[in-house]
Amino acid sequence: MTGMELFGTWIAALLTLCLMSFLYKDNPLFRFAEALFAGVSLGYYIGITMDQTLRPNLFEPLRDSGLTLETGHLLFAGLVGLNLYTRYVPKIAWFARSSLAIYVGYYVGINMVQKLQGEVLPQAAATMVDLTGGGSPTDALNALVVFIGVLTVLIYFFFSVEHKGVFGKASRVGIWFLMLGFGAAFGYTVMGRISLLIGRINFLVIQWIGGTLQALGIGG
């Protein structure tokens, strides 16, 4: 580990400890680290968008090829983007709406097909299963669980009919299926959060303490 890498590791370790200090109680060091993280994240996002997207995909082609038929669409896209900033000039703020309209229109168009073709139809088709399981008792049981689960959860979310009688009982079964889903999600969330803690503890033990001892020539 070079001197600069070790310096960076120390900064990261101290900021990690600042954030972990919140577990004891809220304090100024935690708030400082939190604000720093938010600011650095935004700066990083702006910098990386400039360097990795706007420079190679917009500035360089326009600089190298000039304004031609092939690059004209880039200039248009650039102007649409710049136009968004007119909202900061009150007299011409309404200009920005045209850019927003283009973005909203584009993403609505891409999303409508994507959601319908890639989500609604295949997900709906996956619930229309053969209840016999093709002869396999396990598959038949799974198919039955999917069938009952989908039906009762849909009933739970159907609010045009009062939830009483048979409808109410089916709705209660739907709640149980939802609870099972939430339980699975909670279990996975616990695993996810602990994984992040493992990452930080590993960093503190291996890279920070281990790296510092190594740099000092202690413990190999």
Binding site: Q52, P56, E119, P122, A125, G181, Y188, G192, L196, G210
Partner: protein, 289 residues
């Protein structure tokens, strides 16, 4: 109030301390609990096993350092598998907050273990591109539309591997290692519109929703959280002896080591859930009495 009921008002910082110790001790003294490989992970491994030396896998780094503890072991294991099996890799990043950092660090880390690999021939690092679904749709048709250059500024026309596949749709397999919604886009956009086989390695928080895509056949496999990553590591270690040295490195953060901690911490949490419930019912009974 009984002693058991008093536990309902325990200072939560004692729980934090126990979880902290439950994490620190197995990190310092690894236990080595066995890892059982599940079908969704094995399906991804098996798919790569069917590929040959001229086949290409697109590996999308759709996460940043904030979830690196979960996602890094996945991308590392997949890269080790692809390179050991002589499959070519086109790596790219679509996640704005650190996707490029994770991508570059991972590529540098793993390619250092395979000195015979040639950049531009065996693998390419395309870098990061903003735009989400719009970029994804573009790169499915034509990589150079979205990425005129690789991350080093080299035009794609100068990279032999990029002459082999025009867009992601021409690759044999794509894996999105993702936090949040990016993996879903690979399934409901790229798989649905181009038919490219997709697999996702996701953070544990996202895993339940991805099972819906897996069950519907929109994804070929799923690596869910650190557990899934440890399973993939196990498969790679078992079948490619050349990777065992890397995984034996005590300085390396692996998912397999993390699963020791997961086991201990989960036992602590389960114990507290049981104690909390017993204390709650004891308290309620005492109040009724």
């Amino acid at each position: 109030m009984s002693n058991l009921a008093k536990l309902t008002s325990i200072d939560r910082r004692w729980i934090f301390l126990l979880i902290g110790l439950g994490t620190l001790i197995p990190v310092l003294l690894p236990i080595g609990f066995p890892v059982r490989v599940t079908a969704p992970v094995k399906q991804i491994y098996d798919k790569i096993e069917t590929l040959g030396p001229n086949d290409v896998v697109v590996l999308s780094y759709d996460y940043g350092p904030t979830t690196g503890a979960e996602n890094d072991p996945m991308t590392d294991a997949i890269l080790r598998h692809c390179f050991s099996h002589d499959v070519k890799v086109i790596a790219l990043a679509l996640y704005p907050l650190g996707g490029l950092t994770s991508l570059t660090a991972s590529i540098d880390r793993i390619t250092a273990e395979f000195p015979d690999l040639e950049y531009g021939v065996d693998y390419v690092n395309l870098g990061y591109k903003d735009g989400g679904q719009a970029t994804m749709k573009l790169l499915a048709e034509d990589f150079s539309g979205a990425f005129p250059n690789d991350t080093h500024g080299t035009p794609l026309s100068n990279l032999p591997l990029m002459q082999q596949v025009k867009g992601a749709r021409n690759a044999q397999f794509a894996i999105s290692v993702a936090t949040g919604i990016f993996g879903e886009w690979w399934a409901n956009l790229i798989n649905a519109q181009y038919g490219l086989p997709i697999a996702v390695g996701c953070t544990a928080v996202s895993a339940p929703k991805y099972y819906a895509y897996l069950e519907a056949g929109q994804m070929l496999g799923l690596i869910g959280g650190l557990k899934g990553a440890s399973e993939y590591e196990q498969l790679v270690k078992d079948n490619y002896p050349n990777t065992r040295e890397a995984y034996a490195n005590p300085m390396l953060q692996t998912a397999s080591k993390g699963m020791d901690v997961q086991t201990i911490d989960h036992l602590i949490i389960i114990a507290f859930i049981v104690i909390g419930n017993l204390a709650y019912f004891a308290d309620r009974r005492a109040k009724r009495a």
